[in-house]
Structures are given as C-alpha cells and as structure tokens.
C-alpha cells in the first residue's frame, strides 16, 4: 500500500541553524500538508500546499517557515533559523483532494533544537 515517507526520522540541530525536513507524498495525491506536535501536546496544522502554492497556513507558520515542492516527488519544510520552541515532531500528510478525502500521514521527523 502506498505511504507517505519522511526523512530524516530524527534531526538534531543547534539554535539558529536552518533545517530542511523532507517528505515524499503518495504519488497520485495533489494536496500536501505539514503539521507539528510538540511533545505531549496536540497536533497542530502548519500549512497546506496545492498546485505549487500555499493554499492555507496557520499563525504558527511565520516567515521562518517555508515549503517547497522542488521536483515531482518531494515536499519540503524549511525552518530558516531554528528556535528551541521549534523542537517537535513534524508530520507531513497528503491527500487526493479536500473535503471528503482522507489525509495520509507520514511517520514524522523528530526535530530537536539545542
């Protein structure tokens, strides 16, 4: 069964460094998403992406964040200058459409900012 994959599974970085989290969505899906989950807290929506542009973003997704689909398969989340509070699990998801379509989640990348 097709699945969303994410790399790396764990990323450790120093405060102020840039990180890029990578995701490979399911191949026939058109909508892509990033979520994060701070340890012990709820899953929070960051951004959705369709047709090579951001379709919606939350208040968390500030200028430090950016997303890109650099080729036909990868979907990336970049954090320009990491802060301690960016430490979280970051989940990528994809779906065929919106409204009545399921979002399929990747296994997540654990980002630790020291």
């Amino acid at each position: 069964e097709p699945e969303v994959t994410q790399t790396p599974s764990h990323q450790v970085t120093q405060m102020g460094q840039e990180v890029i989290l990578r995701c490979v969505p399911i191949s026939n899906h058109l909508y892509f998403y990033w979520y994060r989950q701070i340890l012990g807290q709820k899953v929070e929506f960051l951004v959705s992406f369709y047709n090579n542009e951001i379709s919606e973003k939350s208040e968390i997704f500030d200028d430090q964040f950016s997303v890109e689909r650099p080729d036909g398969s990868n979907f990336t989340l970049k954090i320009r200058s990491t802060k301690l509070e960016d430490s979280a699990m970051y989940f990528c998801a994809s779906s065929e459409g919106t409204g009545t379509y399921e979002q399929y989640f990747g296994p997540g990348t654990r980002l630790t900012v020291t």
Partner: protein, 111 residues
C-alpha cells in the same frame, strides 16, 4: 479555537471491555476523522465520516456523528492491549483547507 476536543483525556480499561471516546467541534465540517497514535510515533488513520453520514463501522471500530450537537464518538469494542494509544479526532472544516486536531484521549488497555 476551532479544534476538535476529545473527552475523556485519559481512559483506562481492562482487555475485553469497550472503550468510548467523544469529540466535540465548533463549526460546520466536511468530514471528521479519527486517528490513532502510538507513543512517539506517527498518526494512523482509522475512520473518516462525512458530514452527511451518521454512523460508520470498521472492524471493531464504530464511529457516530451528530452534526446537530457537533459531536462524534469512537467506540472500540472488545479492546485489546494493542489498542493502547492516543486517539485523536480531526475536523475538516467547510471554510478551511486544513485539519484541526483535538488534544486526544490516551487509552490504556490493561491485559
């Protein structure tokens, strides 16, 4: 806040018992989805129920949706120790292109 909210926050039962978790939300939705998350791991999709559906089954899972009360419930029948996980409802709102998650219910099934 427009997130789904689950209750209870934590639930501990014996193997074989049924577990019921509830979710409430605030505005009109396209669908509501339930996910499971084992500790520190990814989210696994369980069931999607559309706004025009009232009940859905999948194996030992039963989900109901009451749009008049803006609430949903997830019932796991004949629970097993392997069902131990956190369960989240996520709502796909009509006026948005994102999903909002609740804080989850942590279910512990004791063998």
């Amino acid at each position: 806040s427009q997130q789904g909210e689950e209750d209870p926050q934590a639930l501990s039962i014996q193997e074989g018992e049924n577990a019921t978790m509830n979710c409430s939300y605030k505005t009109s939705i396209n669908n509501l989805q339930w996910y499971r998350q084992n500790s520190g791991r990814g989210l696994v999709h369980l069931i999607l129920i559309r706004s025009n559906e009232r009940e859905k089954h999948s194996g030992r899972l039963r989900v109901t949706l009451d749009t008049s009360k803006k609430s949903s419930s997830l019932l796991i029948t004949a629970s097993r120790a392997a069902d131990t996980a956190s369960y989240f409802c996520a709502t796909d709102y009509v006026m948005g292109n994102d999903m909002r998650f609740g804080a989850g219910t942590r279910l512990t099934v004791k063998p």
